[in-house]
């Protein structure tokens, strides 16, 4: 009886070890951590430039969020695949080259299929290259982890970035232009004299909204920065 259970246990062990669940608890953390507790924007202070520049309206923001998430995921995957072949001294250049190639791809796709959006985003598509979240994840995660984990980590960071800039864009477009996704919401409910706030369309609105958002979020998570 006892040998049988032992054998059974062993069998279970052997069975479980090579196949960690596709979304095991450890892996779920890769996605859930950057959403709130370890958010790339509000906690780690990375990737602020583009977070502020494109958030005047919801539509370009959504495009930007998708583009950045795609670049993070694929660069994480590629770097993770070749991480053992990259000499340590030139790793920054290698990372930059791969990110720049991916961003060129994104920019060409935008130019080919969404030319209007490409015009709106302008130079900020190119600036995904210097988005600190991308380089940060490559340095901190993809250089030391397996491809699949790196993809999940990239997705998590991408979503963490996306929801923050979407919230900022929501308030900026609502208060600044009185619309959501270019749908004039105040006119639709019969309040056509809604006074739009010019500061929200301006860069200042972005700083204010993001500052307040960070305040609320940090109060909730209890993250306190040392002076």
């Amino acid at each position: 009886m006892s040998t049988e259970t032992l054998e059974h246990k062993e069998a279970v062990l052997v069975k479980e070890k090579p196949s960690e669940g596709l979304l095991s608890k450890r892996r779920k953390k890769f996605i859930s951590d950057p959403l709130v507790d370890d958010n790339p924007i509000s906690i780690q202070v990375l990737g602020i430039c583009s977070a502020l520049a494109v958030t005047v309206k919801m539509e370009p923001t959504l495009t930007m969020a998708i583009a950045v998430t795609a670049v993070i995921v694929f660069s994480n995957l590629i770097i993770s695949l070749i991480r053992d072949f990259i000499p340590n001294r030139i790793r920054i250049i290698v990372q930059l080259a791969i990110v720049a190639a991916l961003v060129t791809l994104v920019s060409e796709i935008l130019k080919a299929y969404y030319y209007d959006m490409f015009k709106v985003l302008g130079a900020y598509v190119g600036l995904i290259i210097t988005n600190c979240i991308v380089m940060g994840r490559l340095e901190a995660f993809a250089m030391a982890n397996k491809p699949y984990d790196s993809v999940l980590d990239g997705l998590g960071s991408g979503f963490g970035y996306a929801w923050i800039i979407l919230v900022v864009a929501f308030f900026r477009e609502l208060l600044g232009s009185g619309s959501i996704f270019d749908f004039k919401i105040f006119q639709a409910i019969g309040w056509s004299s809604f006074p739009t706030n010019g500061l929200m369309v301006d860069s200042i609105g972005a700083f204010m909204i993001l500052g307040i958002l960070i305040w609320i979020q940090r109060t909730k998570t209890g993250h306190v920065e040392a002076h």
Partner: protein
């Protein structure tokens, strides 16, 4: 005269930080002390004044559509614009590395104060951003150099002003959640309002 106008515009009206949000990461991260902010600001001016004209020359003679005509009529129709991102970032990374090595050799004292900031600058959005804006605006070589210097100076003044305010803030009692990044964002917004007063000045 046009060049001087571009410098002044770069500092006050088209300020890198307040108008285009470029270089925000290092602007927020390295603005805790005036002395370090001063070092980073100088390094940014330095690198921008060199990289913008170099990228201008490369863009004008190699990347732009039809700019390869000097190699012969067979190359007249080649358009390498899509290579801009890769070439620009490679040029910036290479120049930063080169500048770092030269400074280390020529002036160890300057290297002591600028050295640690130079690698950080290679991935600063302000540098790549200036190169991309320079392309959009069709500057001449002199104007591009002036633009590099002007936007670098704009960054320099902005980061020193913020660092001075943050040094004073150490002694204030700030709510826990607002401390650090949150408050810095709000202050940057207020500084942005101040900078808005320069808008409308026609040079």
């Amino acid at each position: 005269m046009e060049a001087l106008n571009i410098v002044i515009r770069g500092i006050f009206i088209d300020n890198m930080i307040f108008a285009y949000f470029l270089g925000m990461c290092s602007f927020l991260a390295v603005s805790k002390k005036v002395s370090t902010a001063f070092g980073l600001g100088l390094a940014v001016i330095f690198v921008l004044t060199i990289t913008v004209p170099v990228n201008w020359i490369i863009n004008e003679n190699i990347l732009k559509e039809g700019s390869l005509a000097w190699m012969g009529s067979a190359y007249e129709t080649i358009d390498l614009t899509f290579m801009q991102f890769i070439i620009f970032i490679a040029v910036i990374a290479a120049i930063v590395q080169l500048v770092e090595m030269i400074i280390e050799k020529v002036s160890p004292a300057l290297y002591g104060s600028l050295g640690i900031f130079l690698p950080l600058i290679a991935v600063n959005c302000a540098i790549l951003g200036s190169a991309l804006f320079m392309v959009q605006r069709d500057y001449t070589l002199v104007e591009a150099t002036a633009y590099g210097f002007g936007s670098g100076s704009g960054f320099f003044f902005a980061i020193i002003a913020l660092a001075a305010i943050r040094e004073k803030l150490k002694y204030s009692n700030v709510p826990d959640g607002l401390r650090g990044l949150g408050l810095t964002m709000l202050i940057t917004g207020l500084m942005g309002i101040a900078f808005k007063s320069f808008i409308g000045i026609v040079l």
